[in-house]
């Protein structure tokens, strides 16, 4: 394989991993209250600034500030659920009202981050907008892999397995699925729905925080960085069906690969499209999904069908 193509694949994989982290969180909040959380991107930006703060003041590698980013973003998501979305939902606010509230929260968080960035640059005289983290690479034979590739991939794989175990093998996971499927019935059967939802929000915020800590390795970061990722996150989640966590993972990789590889070919000679139009790819995926398969990809992939297909294949082989 040529090096240019390898780097392209590595880039796409990293971008996919970041989107998976974001999209899983977004889906997780969507399946609780059925609102698209527009503030999700800003939870990631909080993670970005946590990592940046640790990086500039304590000289700690952004990779080591992942747990802190997870905790802080998760806590803010939890607080927003407890003090904004839950009270609103309890008062009988409709979907549109909740969406407006989430946009309001988005504006509040983003403006707060702008204020924070201003304070950073005014009082401490450091760059607080448009910064990047420098990554190191590992050389394996002829391949040189960035740390981010290894760590984000490992984290995504870990996430896929832990969600699988959480949702199918643990009591909490089963309660969670029940609470999501039918909150009233679950409540009657003794599941603490509120607690399940609160934990979902915390996890969602935490995952966004981790993604945020990784973002400056790839994109020049500032208070708006999460907002720029939001559209892609929505595209990934919706492509995955918006109700399925595995769908969100699939959607994340699909959008990540489509964007990176798509723009690589579109910016080449025959078309020469400016790379600045990259976000348009996610947007087109979003629109096409909504108009053609609004229920998402996950709904099209049925495990039973696959196993049936495998059986028929086996049978035909035997014959």
């Amino acid at each position: 394989m040529k090096t240019a193509e390898t780097t392209l694949l590595i880039d796409a994989m990293i971008f996919g991993n970041l989107l998976v982290l974001l999209a899983v969180g977004l889906t997780l909040t969507y399946i609780t209250l059925r609102i698209p959380n527009f503030a999700h991107g800003d939870l990631a930006t909080i993670g970005t600034y946590v990592a940046y703060f640790m990086y500039t003041y304590l000289k700690i590698s952004p990779y080591l500030s992942i747990p802190l980013a997870f905790l802080i973003s998760g806590t803010i998501a939890l607080l927003s659920y407890l003090f904004i979305f839950k009270p609103l939902a309890d008062r009988g606010t409709g979907i549109i009202g909740l969406m407006i509230a989430s946009i309001a929260l988005e504006v509040v968080l983003r403006s707060s981050l702008h204020v924070y960035a201003d304070i950073l640059s005014e009082t401490y005289k450091v760059i607080s907008r448009g910064f990047l983290f420098r990554d190191y690479t590992i050389t394996l034979g002829t391949l040189s892999l960035p740390y981010l590739f290894i760590i984000s991939s490992a984290l995504s794989i870990f996430l896929i397995f832990s969600f699988y175990i959480l949702l199918t093998k643990t009591k909490f996971g089963i309660a969670m699925r029940a609470a999501i499927e039918n909150p009233n019935l679950a409540e009657v059967l003794g599941v603490n729905v509120n607690k399940v939802y609160a934990i979902s929000w915390f996890l969602a915020g935490g995952l966004a925080g981790i993604a945020g800590a990784f973002l400056p390795f790839r994109i020049t970061a500032g208070p708006e960085v999460g907002w720029y990722m939001l559209l892609r996150t929505f595209a990934s989640s919706i492509l995955g069906g918006f109700l399925s966590i595995y769908g969100a993972m699939l959607g994340g990789y699909a959008v990540g690969f489509a964007e990176i590889i798509g723009i690589y070919f579109l910016s080449k000679p025959p078309l020469n499209i400016s790379t600045a139009f990259r976000p348009a790819i996610s947007f087109i995926i979003l629109i096409i999904t909504l108009l053609i398969v609004p229920e998402g990809l996950a709904s099209k992939i049925k495990l039973e069908k696959i196993s049936k297909l495998l059986k028929t294949v086996k049978r035909t082989r035997k014959q």
């Binding site: 008062r91 549109i96 309001a104 403006s111 304070i119 348009a280 947007f283 979003l286």
Partner: protein, 346 residues
């Protein structure tokens, strides 16, 4: 007035921005408050009007004058001032251009509204909100990166179509015309909401299935309202571009949509007086902050503080006063006595 350097300037700016935001909030109220379409992409249609003005007006006038528009983006400030000089001597042409631009904004806004109505009718509220929000961002990204439109990140300057009016009254006239257009839009929407169509859109908002079962074409009505609301937003965009005298893509962030939502939620959804009150409160606060900004010593931009403030206010209103300051009232009907009198006469 205390602390305001130039009270006349302040009032002119206040009135101008109030007029623009009044049109936007009234049209959003028509879409969401009366019809129930959650238009989270209001900025898209507003930007449509502003972009068409920025893209067309100077080029069109250069053609009329007979000058070339070579290297348009590098020299657009120069071209705009050249064109303004020409317009100052041609009142008739100025008025004609002004009206043409308003029409163009109306058409572009309406067309964008028609395009947006395609998913708007088919999607649930959630998906519709996401799609419209994303569409607004897409238009901004395109405008930012596609230079021929409004010169990308540089932005484009817009000539003064009111240059022919004597300088001392020019701005008063301009603001007066803007307010006039805004108020007549208000009157038009108010009239519309009291017409049979107004009752129909409220019926659709309250119970879509019931309205459909009475044989009403919900899809068609929604398209109509979205096209109408977007056309109003397009006109507002033209007025904005002509008042600010420049168009920058980054001026049309989704934050603007949020501001318009703040206005109608604070004022009262489904009540045009509420929408007007909401826009007045917002514009007044914004202008006052601009005035007093220099007096406030803070290590950050005070504008962000106002966004935080409005965000929190919005959430609090949703929680404690979800109907806004002026809740929706039953639509006005003819007085009972008058009806009795008419019946007796017969």
């Amino acid at each position: 007035m205390i602390g305001i350097a130039d009270p006349i300037r302040f009032v002119i700016d206040l009135t101008a921005f109030f007029s623009i935001y009044l049109m936007l909030s009234i049209s959003l109220n028509l879409e969401y408050g009366y019809t129930g379409i959650p238009n989270f992409g209001k900025v898209l249609f507003f930007a449509g009007g502003a972009f068409i003005t920025g893209a067309v007006i100077t080029r069109l006038l250069l053609i009329i004058i007979g000058l070339s528009s070579e290297n348009y983006c590098s020299f657009n400030v120069l071209y705009a001032s050249e064109v303004t000089k020409y317009l100052a001597e041609n009142p008739l042409l100025s008025v004609l251009i002004f009206v043409t631009m308003l029409l163009a904004g109306c058409i572009v806004g309406g067309l964008l509204g028609y395009v947006a109505s395609y998913p708007a009718i088919r999607l649930k509220e959630t998906y519709l909100g996401i799609t419209l929000l994303a569409s607004g961002e897409l238009l901004r990204i395109v405008a930012r990166n596609y230079d021929p439109l409004i010169c990308g990140t540089l932005g484009v300057s817009v000539p003064d179509v009111f240059a022919w009016i004597p300088v001392n009254v020019k701005e008063f006239v301009q603001v007066f015309i803007m307010l006039g257009i805004a108020l007549s839009t208000w009157g038009f929407v108010e009239k519309l909401t009291r017409s049979p169509l107004g009752r129909l859109i409220r019926a659709i908002r309250d119970n879509e299935i019931a309205a459909e079962s009475y044989g009403k074409d919900v899809v068609k009505v929604r398209t109509k309202i979205l096209v109408l609301g977007s056309a109003i937003a397009g006109i507002a965009g033209v007025l904005y571009a002509l008042y600010v005298r420049s168009v920058h893509a980054d001026d049309f962030m989704p934050l603007r949509t949020f501001i318009i939502w703040v206005m109608i939620i604070i004022g009262g959804v489904g009540n045009n007086i509420g929408a007007a009150l909401g826009s007045f409160i917002y514009v007044l606060t914004e202008r006052l902050i601009m005035q007093y900004k220099h007096y406030i010593v803070a290590p950050f931009d005070v504008n962000y503080l106002s966004y935080i403030f409005f965000g929190i206010i919005l959430i609090l209103i949703l929680m404690f006063k979800p109907k806004g300051l002026l809740p929706e009232k039953p639509s006005k009907t003819i007085e009972f006595e008058k009806i009795i009198k008419k019946l007796k006469k017969k």
